[in-house]
Structure formats: structure tokens, C-alpha cells
Amino acid sequence: MIREIGASPDFIIEFGKKCVRCGQCRSVCPVFTEFKTEGFSPRARVFLADMIHRSCKGSTVALNSRGPAHIDYADSSPDARTFTDNAPTDILKKAWDRNLICLLCGACATDCPSGVPVCDIILSMRKEYVAHGGRPKLVAELSQRIRETHNVVGEDNENRWLWMEEHTPISVHSECQVTPLRRPQGLVYFTGCVASLYPGAYKIPRSMIQIMNRTGIGFALLGGEEWCCGYPLSLLGLDSEADEIAGHNLEKVVGLGADTVMTSCPSCYYTWRHLIEKTGAHITVIHYTQLLNGIVADQAVKLSPMEVVATYHDPCDLGRKSGIYDPPREVLRSIPGLTFNEITPSRKDARCCGGGGNLETIDPELSRKLAEARLSQASDTGAELIVTACQQCARTLSNAARKLPRTRNMPYGDSEPPRPDMEITVPRKMKVRDIADIVLSCLQSP
């Protein structure tokens, strides 16, 4: 697996006992705020994982169970019992299934006063599910697709070039060869499955290579030799498969003699960071927002004005999980005419767009509702433009924005009609754009 997590009963029990079940996680979990029943709260997920693992481990810690006599493992007659001899297998399966309905956005863990790493616990549960032979259709299909095609879409991997072929002309710096596997100046642009293969996201790599070309930054692409980074597999508990394909990518990058990998996808960035940490390879991993910020800060380019009120949405894998908050904000603040209004919550407290943790695949309707909630927060800033630095966030938010009504009333009253003075700011139609796209549109001709 890319990132070592303590996928063992001991690991889960260790943190299970630390959870004081204060419920603070209820206030930050987007999934819980949608369902609102305790079974979807992060603390309940931890509680169930802890209970199940005590059972798996054969814990001898006696728990006093009181209550109705209808459930085998909660018989009210004995005062004390263990879960050793009557492991609740039905609960196991249901808990694992329910753990698929999680964004893995990390908001709960970041906010937890007891320091419980809820995401790692859920990932451990998912991993165990697979290890115990659990392969829901989603997992099986994704695994097969990536194994056979090396990308999440299931297309011929050579199609990773298509976004370039359709984009002409490309001004190529003399030292910058976009031919695959030729020695670059040192930087490999790892475009990621979505940006390379979903036409709706082509704009991101197209913008980036034009910016790099115009600023004289050399780079190489892996093209058909770029495989999925492995992140979607590790999210579903398929760590060994994720390791395998991540190893391929590392081998190709090292083989090129590159010293830097740049990603535009925050999940690729997160995965590469942990891969380098784990392998000790001498590769620097950067996100394209860092490169853009460097370009802007060096005044390597002049930006033309853009009269717009904008806000920035922190992608979970880039912000909360990787600590990159300022570079994209600095880029936006450097654009003349752009008024930057901070969204609430933001940075480490930012709310997920609804597209994390493969949720869009598992429950598209829920994902859309969560995106709407984020759009509503963006609307409260007065911004007409949401800028983000993640193709998944852009997609989730754009799709939701298209379906939003122009106005709505707050539900002041389940017994009264809405009153005009109770109307609140409406989630207006908002545009969602990628930060590279914004920078490119502001680039003045040399």
C-alpha cells in the first residue's frame, strides 16, 4: 500500500479507546449532516470498528451489555460477556458496506479533540473487507479496469495523448520535448487519469503546458506509460494492487532521470508524496499550484486584469491532507482586478465538495447534494466564481451548479409560509474554474 496505516485490530482498538464519543465529528462530517442519523456519524463508525475488532481479536475485556434480549450479542441476562464466541458477522458486513459511504475527506480526524484518525480506521476496515474476500461490484470492476487498462476510465491507455492531439498548435520550448520518455530538464508532469482521459478536464493540462511553454519551463509526459497513481485502489482497500502500479510509475520517472514530479490532481500529489516518503526515492513532488505561484511570484509573466469576485475551494487531498493552502490563494491575489473573498469554512476546516472517497461512483445523488451545500457556502461569500485546483472538485461542483435553482427560501417555518424578511442569500448560478485555466486566461502575450 502507498501509505502505511495500522490495519490491525490493535491499531483500531488503540484509537477506539481514545474516542470519548463527544460527537464533535458530527458537526464537520458532510455525510452525517445529510443523513443526520447516528449510524452515519464518524464516532459511530469508530465505535463499530472498535467493537468488531475486539470481536476479531477475541478481546477479553468484559463489557456489560444491557438492553432487549432480541440480539444475540446483547443478551441482557448475563451481566458481563465478551464478543469472542459470538462474532456479529452480519454487523461486520453492514459496517463495511456503510463505510463505503464516506468521503474520506478527513474533516472529522482533523477536528477530533482526542486525535482519532477516523479515515485510517475506515481505510483499515475497507482493506479488511477485501482481505476477507469481500469484493462488491464496484471494487471488482475498478480493480479489473485498472489492471487491464492502467487507468480508471477503462480506455486504451495510449488515449492519454488525445488531449494534446486535439490541442494545436502547441508551442514547445526548445528544451521541452513532449515526446514520451525523452530526457527532460528534470520535471515530469504527471497529468492523472481524469485530466488525461475526461474531455471535460482536458483544459487543465492544456492550460498548464501552455503556461509552462510560455515561461520556458521544460517538462516531459509519460503518456501511455503513465498509469493510474493507485489512489482509487487504496481507497477501496486494494493496497497491494495500488503498490504495484505506483511502483511502475516510480520506475518510469526514475528511468527518465527526472528529479521532480508535478501533478495537477491533488490525489495523485498525495499518493506520490507518500510513495516517495516510503521508498526514499530522490524525487521532489510538487503540485501545479506551487509551480504557478512560483511563476507569479518570480514575475516571470505579467497578468492582465480580471474583474471578478472569486473564492477558492480547498480540495481535501491538497489542503487538509497535504497542507497546501497558500500557493493557490497567492496566485489569485496576484491577479489584478480579482477580488478574493474567503469561503467559510476554509483551509483545514474546508468542507468536501462531495466528490471524495469515490462517493460520486457509490452514491451520485448524495455526492450532488453535498456539492450543493458547498456551493451554498461559496455563494455566501458574494463570489460569482469558485476557483479550485482539482479536476474532481471542479467536476462535482460544476455538475451541481448547473442544476441549482436561482433562488430559494430558508426553511423558516414548518407551519408557516416563508416570510420575505427571512429570505437568505441564494446560491446563485456560479461558475467553477480551474486555477491554471484562470492563470492562462490572464497571461499577457510576451
Binding site: 481514545k18 470519548v20 459511530a44 434480549a69 432480541h70 440480539i71 452480519d90 453492514k94
Partner: protein, 490 residues
């Protein structure tokens, strides 16, 4: 077939009928009966719930008064316990089913029905989150003053049922001072309105004050379905004074001198040396002075009044404090508050192999006895070998203690139980109470006789009158029987 097996089969059949009946009454989507959901409602934040698993038979999530009335009528007819629950953030086992029954999760019913700005009132359903209500009120420059630490997740219904308060109780008091009226579904299923049917007054002395009876009744007298709250204008100014003392006794003495100057801060918090050590261990960069106590005063009101009161508090504190700072700049205020706000985390992380627990965490003592309580708790901590972190609302005598232990260690668990009992008894000995704001629930019920004496019998009579079948949240707040006759003539 053995008798036990037969009894179990009968139970399963009865429960299946219960679930089907409830689905028919309020709709399938409002009834949770899967084991995985029942398990998730088997706990709150108490240490007692960590050691026990309290499974309900079924969970209902009503979204109207009619839903609540239907469920309660059914439960009354069939003599099934009903346990109202908000966000389940309590620390007393107050919202869990001690012996099965119907857990009624009211947190989904979260409408702010109306903000009546002209009359400075708000009408809400029980599931509204405290912070959400204040977000709504802020649009009208109003606020609901009680401010529990759980503001982001606790519900107004839960706050009313427990008469919750928080940091600012010194100046603004507790929830009861803001509840003007309630809609309550009684255990028989009948709906009543307290505070006057259709009334929108702040002052109203007509009839017996039933509102006060239900506030803090912890769900043993009925289900609160609507709450009419008094709200206040939001203060424009705010400032914080921090003072560090080398002698613990200087802290309450300073508080008293501030009061005698006619100043009533919004809150006065204390961190004793155990809390200072915990914060410095967890966040050394905060560089809290190595003191016996730190006081944090917050003043609010008009900007001019804040400046005057803050400066005066700082002057008084300097008479005995080794360090005093007065701040009104938002960033610096946040920095000063950080020592207080990281305490929960600091206590939790004090032991890598353990955690803090919620038990014995909420005693209340007279202001003049706060230092006795703090010293007493520290001595008990040594006696029972369980580390504690002490902090609290010194302005109103409410001391919060966080025992830190390994809950996997049976020895430590046993010692913790003894420590908690001793802390509760210490509070009573100091003319205080076992709970200042968190409530009794199931965890402090054993002290009811000692705390209330003959008054407990009156409480019991009220309970029996309103709930003759004893279905409402059984086993909480007051014991079903027994009065210690030795306390009656105290």
C-alpha cells in the same frame, strides 16, 4: 425448547410487532430497527456508556408533533420506555436506553420556526443545533447567550432538557433563564403548552411555572417538541484579561475583588497547575507561565464599557498576579483563549496509552470553596493514582475535572470509579452539587437522596402524577423509589 429460548423467541416476536406498528404509525422512513443502527444509539459521551452497551429495541426519528404524540400514546398503552435524545453529546447516560425501549432521536427535527426580532424571541424545534441558532440570530444582531462547549453539535432540545449553560453563565446564566414557553407531549400522549397558549410575553406570572418544571427534567416528564426562547442583543465589544498566579488562593480572591468593584464579566475561567502542565506538554509553544493558576476574564458589552471594565480587571489582578495581559485585538484574544480551548485535546493526549474520560467532570461548589475543591481533587487524584486535569468556570463555582487513564486497564477503571465517587462526595461535603451543568442522567442518580433529602419525595410525586406508568426515560435524574429518611429532617 428451553424456557430461555422460548422467552427469547417471544421477545423477538413482540419486538417485530413493535417495529411494524411504529412504521405504520409514523412511516417506515422514520423507524430504525437494524442492529447496526441500534448499536450506534447505545452510547453517549459518558464513561459509563464506554463500559456498558445500552441497546434500544428501536429508534424513531419524528419530524412533527403528531409523530411524537402517536409514538408516545402507543408506548403508554403498551408500557414501553421512551428515551428522548438530541445529539447524544451528554456525559451522563441521559439519552440511552438502560433497559430497552424506544429511543426518540429528535435531532433531525431542526427547524428554526421563527425569529421574532421585534419581540426578541425565537421559536425552534428541539433538534436545532445551538451554533446554527446563533447563526440565524446573528442576522438580526441577536444571540442566545448560554454557550456550552458542545455548541457545534448539541441541540436546543437537549440544552433545555438538561438546563445547560457554559462559559458565560457568570453573566448570562443558564438555559432556564431564556425559556419562555414549551410545547410538551406528556407521557400519556397529551400535548400541552407552558408559558401561556399563544403568549409572546417576556413577563408572565399567570399560573404555576410549568416551564421551569420541564427545563432540566432530563426527559422524565415528557417530550419537548417546541421551544420559545428569549434572546438578547449581541454585544458589540469584547475583551480578555489573562492573569497568572503563583498562589492558588489568589485566583478566587481576585475574582471576588472584581465582583466587589461591581463588574460582572461574561465569563471567568480557571486553569489550575494540572491544566497548565497539560497545555504546556501538548502545546509548548503557547508558553503558559509556570503558575499555580491562570484566570481568563472575558468582558463584553459596548466597546467603551469593555475598555473600562477590562482595564479595571487588569488593575485588580495586578495586585496579586505574577503576570497580567489585557487584549481586545481579535487575533490576540484568540491566542489567549487558545490555552483554554486546547484543554480537551491536551487532557486527551496526556497519556499516549490512555485518554480522558467523562466522569466526575462537573461538580459545582460555592465560589468561596473553589480552591478547596481543586486541592481536594488533586489530593484524591494522588490517593487513587489517577491523573486529573482541572479547569472550570470559577466565576460560578463549576469545576471540570478530566481523569486521564487507560480504559483497558481493569485496575485503573476500578480506581477511577472510586475517584469519581469521592469527587462527587467532596462536592456535597463542600455544600455543592455533583453537577453544575451536565446533568444527572444515570451516572449521578445514586446521590439524589443525599443531595435532595425529603424534596426527592416531592419530585417523585410529580413524576408519578405525570407519568404513572413510568415510561419516560426510566432510570434517569431521580430514583424510582427510596428516600433516605436520615436526610429528611436535615
Amino acid at each position: 425448547m428451553s424456557q430461555a429460548t422460548r422467552r427469547k423467541e417471544e421477545t423477538v416476536i413482540i419486538r417485530a410487532a413493535l417495529i411494524e406498528d411504529l412504521k405504520r404509525l409514523i412511516g417506515e422512513d422514520k423507524v430504525l430497527s437494524d442492529e447496526i443502527d441500534l448499536l450506534c444509539y447505545s452510547f453517549d459521551s459518558s464513561f459509563m456508556a464506554k463500559l456498558n452497551r445500552f441497546l434500544p429495541d428501536v429508534v424513531v426519528t419524528p419530524l412533527s408533533t403528531e409523530d411524537v404524540m402517536k409514538v408516545v400514546r402507543y408506548a403508554y398503552e403498551h408500557e414501553i420506555p421512551v428515551i428522548p435524545r438530541g445529539a447524544g453529546t451528554g456525559e451522563t447516560c441521559g439519552a440511552v436506553a438502560l433497559s430497552g425501549g424506544i429511543v426518540m432521536d429528535l435531532s433531525l427535527w431542526d427547524n428554526v420556526i421563527e425569529v421574532d426580532a421585534a419581540n426578541m424571541q425565537a421559536l425552534v424545534r428541539p433538534g436545532v443545533i445551538h451554533a446554527t441558532l446563533n447563526e440565524h440570530l446573528a442576522r438580526f444582531d441577536l444571540f442566545f447567550p448560554p454557550d456550552p462547549g458542545s455548541t457545534r453539535m448539541c441541540t436546543i432540545g437537549g440544552m433545555v432538557a438538561n438546563n445547560a449553560s457554559g462559559l458565560k453563565a457568570v453573566k448570562y446564566g443558564s438555559t432556564e433563564q431564556y425559556v419562555l414557553g414549551l410545547d410538551v407531549v406528556l407521557p400519556t400522549g397529551e400535548l400541552i403548552t407552558t408559558g401561556g397558549v399563544g403568549a409572546r410575553t417576556v413577563k408572565n406570572v399567570s399560573g404555576l411555572n410549568l416551564t421551569k418544571l420541564f427545563v432540566g427534567s432530563e426527559g422524565i416528564l415528557g417530550i419537548i417538541t417546541m421551544i420559545r426562547l428569549k434572546v438578547l442583543p449581541k454585544p458589540k465589544g469584547r475583551g480578555i484579561v489573562m492573569a497568572a498566579f503563583s498562589d492558588l488562593d489568589h485566583a478566587p480572591a481576585t475574582v471576588l475583588r472584581v465582583y466587589r468593584q461591581g463588574i460582572l464579566p461574561a465569563c471567568i475561567e480557571i486553569l489550575d497547575s494540572s491544566a497548565i502542565t497539560a497545555v504546556n506538554t501538548y502545546r509548548p509553544e503557547l508558553e503558559l507561565p509556570d503558575a499555580e493558576a491562570i484566570l481568563l476574564f472575558e468582558v463584553d458589552g459596548s466597546p467603551q464599557g469593555v475598555e473600562e471594565e477590562g482595564a479595571e480587571i487588569a488593575r485588580i489582578a495586578k495586585e496579586q498576579a505574577v503576570l497580567v495581559e489585557w487584549a481586545t485585538e481579535p487575533k490576540r484574544m484568540m491566542g489567549l483563549w487558545e490555552a483554554r480551548s486546547v484543554l480537551a485535546t491536551a487532557a486527551a493526549k496526556l497519556r499516549p496509552d490512555g485518554t480522558r474520560i467523562f466522569a466526575g467532570e462537573d461538580i459545582s461548589v460555592p465560589l468561596a470553596k473553589v480552591t478547596d475543591a481543586l486541592r481536594g481533587i488533586r489530593a484524591l487524584s494522588l490517593e487513587y493514582g489517577i491523573r486529573v486535569v482541572n479547569f472550570g468556570h470559577i466565576g460560578d463555582g463549576n469545576v471540570h475535572t478530566a481523569p486521564v487513564l487507560d480504559p483497558e486497564s481493569p485496575d485503573e477503571v476500578e480506581q477511577a470509579k472510586l475517584l469519581v465517587d469521592a469527587i462527587h462526595r467532596l462536592a456535597i461535603r463542600l455544600s455543592g452539587s455533583t453537577t453544575g451543568e451536565h446533568g444527572v442522567g444515570a451516572v449521578r442518580i445514586e446521590y439524589a437522596n443525599e443531595e435532595h433529602g425529603a424534596a426527592l419525595r416531592v419530585m417523585q410525586s410529580i413524576k408519578n402524577t405525570l407519568d404513572p406508568k413510568g415510561i419516560m426515560n426510566p432510570g434517569k435524574l431521580i430514583p424510582c423509589s427510596v428516600i433516605d429518611s436520615s436526610r429528611e429532617n436535615r
